[in-house]
Amino acid sequence: MADGFQFPVDRSAVMLFARSLGDIRPEFSDPDDPATKAVGGIVVPPTFVQSSAHWQPDYPLDLTRPRKPGAQASRGEGGGGGGLGRGLHAEQHYEYHHPIHAGDTLTVTTRPGERWEKQGRRGGKLLFSETITEYRNQDGVLCVTARSVGVQTERAVDQ
């Protein structure tokens, strides 16, 4: 994903994302509220950029997404998921450089980070892999850097 993809930050998407986390604060939904005006318009919850998944062309964790003939979801570990059955999201880290506002169009670029192995508690290898994602706005300003760590297990995770 060296060239990246476009992620338009839509006000309805921000409201729905915030609502799904039980968050009804006005800065995430109401442009006319004084609190929203005080922060320069609608801003987004700390983990909102995760919803760029909807715009990621090869996003692997939505198998029911309609696709063009011949295209298929990638099986890569991108997006923090790490596969459907055995993969788990181990860590997620964000750095916030510049506010994101409803109406922005972000360009999202992703690159692989480190990879490492660890022995699981009940045997079986744990394979960790990092993905670094950068979100830049329409002015080219870096808004958020995300670092996701996925883990693949050789067998079902201990319960």
Binding site: A13, L16, F17, R19, S20, L21, G22, D23, R25, E27, F28, V39, V43, P45, P46, T47, Q50, S51, S52, A53, H54, Y59, L61, D62, L63, T64, R65, G79, G80, G81, L84, G85, R86, L88, H89, A90, E91, Q92, H93, Y94, E95, Y96, P99, R147, R155, A156, V157, Q159
Partner: protein, 133 residues
């Protein structure tokens, strides 16, 4: 905001996680891995007792504790490890504690240790945030 080392904030961020909560988060966030909404898939393909919530659902709920406490634009950094799965029926309490306050580049920054626990007191998310205060 006047924060000092040792200050804490705690909130019940969700009381009784339902499959509907998880599905709503899937729709908003875009992660439709069937492990999070399809019990048969979770049991047969994943070897889990049932569906469980996305890690990012726990991180998002924990983020709500932070923005309710510190405001929606205060965060400079926020990172977590997912330490335990969140199952339907769980109730989550998120807690932040200020561990350091310093001046950096003309800004006052607070480092906050973050832990979210389930109804048994087991952590589901552990991490750290840095906020401009």
């Amino acid at each position: 905001m006047d924060l000092k080392v040792g200050d804490t904030h705690e909130a019940v961020v969700i009381d009784n996680v339902t499959r509907t909560h998880v599905v709503k988060y899937a729709g908003a966030g875009g992660d439709f891995n069937p492990l999070h909404h399809d019990d048969e898939f979770a049991k047969e393909r994943g070897g889990y007792p049932s569906v469980f919530a996305h890690g990012m659902f726990s991180m998002g709920l924990t983020g709500r504790m932070l923005t309710d406490w510190l405001g929606p634009t205060a965060l400079k950094k926020y990172g977590v490890r997912f330490t335990r799965q969140v199952w339907p029926g769980d109730t989550l309490t998120a807690r932040g504690e200020v561990t350091e306050v310093k001046d950096e580049g003309g800004e006052k920054l607070a480092t906050i240790k973050v832990v979210t626990v389930n109804q048994n007191g087991e952590s589901v998310v552990e991490g750290e945030a840095v906020a401009a205060i």
